[in-house]
Symmetry: C2
Subunit: 184 residues, 2 copies
Amino acid sequence: MDVKTVCLGILNFGDASGYEIKKALEEGPFAHIHAASYGSIYPALNALSAQGYAECRQMTQDKRPDKKIYSITDAGRRALQESLLVTPAPDSFRSDFLFILFFAELLPPDRLAELIDQRIAWYRENLERMEQCNLESPGHSFVHGMGQAIYRAAAEYLERNRDQVLENPTVDDSGKETTTALAG
Amino acid sequence: MDVKTVCLGILNFGDASGYEIKKALEEGPFAHIHAASYGSIYPALNALSAQGYAECRQMTQDKRPDKKIYSITDAGRRALQESLLVTPAPDSFRSDFLFILFFAELLPPDRLAELIDQRIAWYRENLERMEQCNLESPGHSFVHGMGQAIYRAAAEYLERNRDQVLENPTVDDSGKETTTALAG
DNA sequence: GGTTGCATGTAAATGGTTACATGATTGT
DNA sequence: ACAATCATGTAACCATTTACATGCAACC
């Protein structure tokens, strides 16, 4: 699912500019599903226009820079519908946080505590923002609810196990022999 | 957190070959934290050796291709510890599944059901595999437990809400005017 | 006077993945 | 006979990010 398809999907919800698409992807309804930078959004919108999947009208604004509002076309709607039918690629997930946590024993305990507390705060903030959010479609509600369920579980886990991992004394690994223990 | 650092981290757990590192990343203890392909792992291991962060010894095996077993060096351990102290980049997450679900109304109901059921099965399989898994360090247990908590929440959510989203009649969007509704 | 928000865009660099090349062994 | 597992590596390709370029308005 490339940025072009993502933009098309957002346009299917309503007309938008590149700037607004970015916002939808980071704070709006599509937050945490697929991030993208301006460097990929603007070229994607140009490509969509060139293919006839989107139309663009210029908007001169008062006391604001000009805007380019994109609308999805019938061809675009058809293309979107088609791309929704392909087998979805497996989720791609990368977490520096979890990677670092894996080596909890190698971290200064106060740093570990800071890391976990920041993460709890992040989940809580997002949960709050998500709760006061108007849902426009069944699909939106479903995905939104799933996100909340996951964040709630993550936050609760961190809160419950925070002290346990902090109490564990930091292992002094000098002279510790390394054994291959990667299976399972 | 690039593939080089990830390899270094895995080597800190124990000696391994490139092939074994890949396995650790997809089925082993590091599964679902950071994926990588051979095309990035092998060059990373070469770079690690060139920098003196890892050492390599050739292993001629019986009835198997030769192996190159890498070990982390003291310099490598120091480099790893340093990279664990930097502020972690925000998690990067991309889900075709959630993106598609967002447009549940545009999908054939049977396709929607198939998608959700496959996903539930995926979570359940992984949960089972994770339960019968030996944990080697406090960090490992912590991350592992968090992964389980999240997968359990996701699976339960899908099971609870599966029928609700399927019962919702598919909206016929012909002639529906599009309004900008991306905020919040 | 500095930062944030609005607004669009490009070029270079990055950091990967995919496909290819090779080949023995074991299981179906 | 065919697929899968083990095992390493390269080169071409790809999508996307980062940094740069520009500029006005509002707020503190």
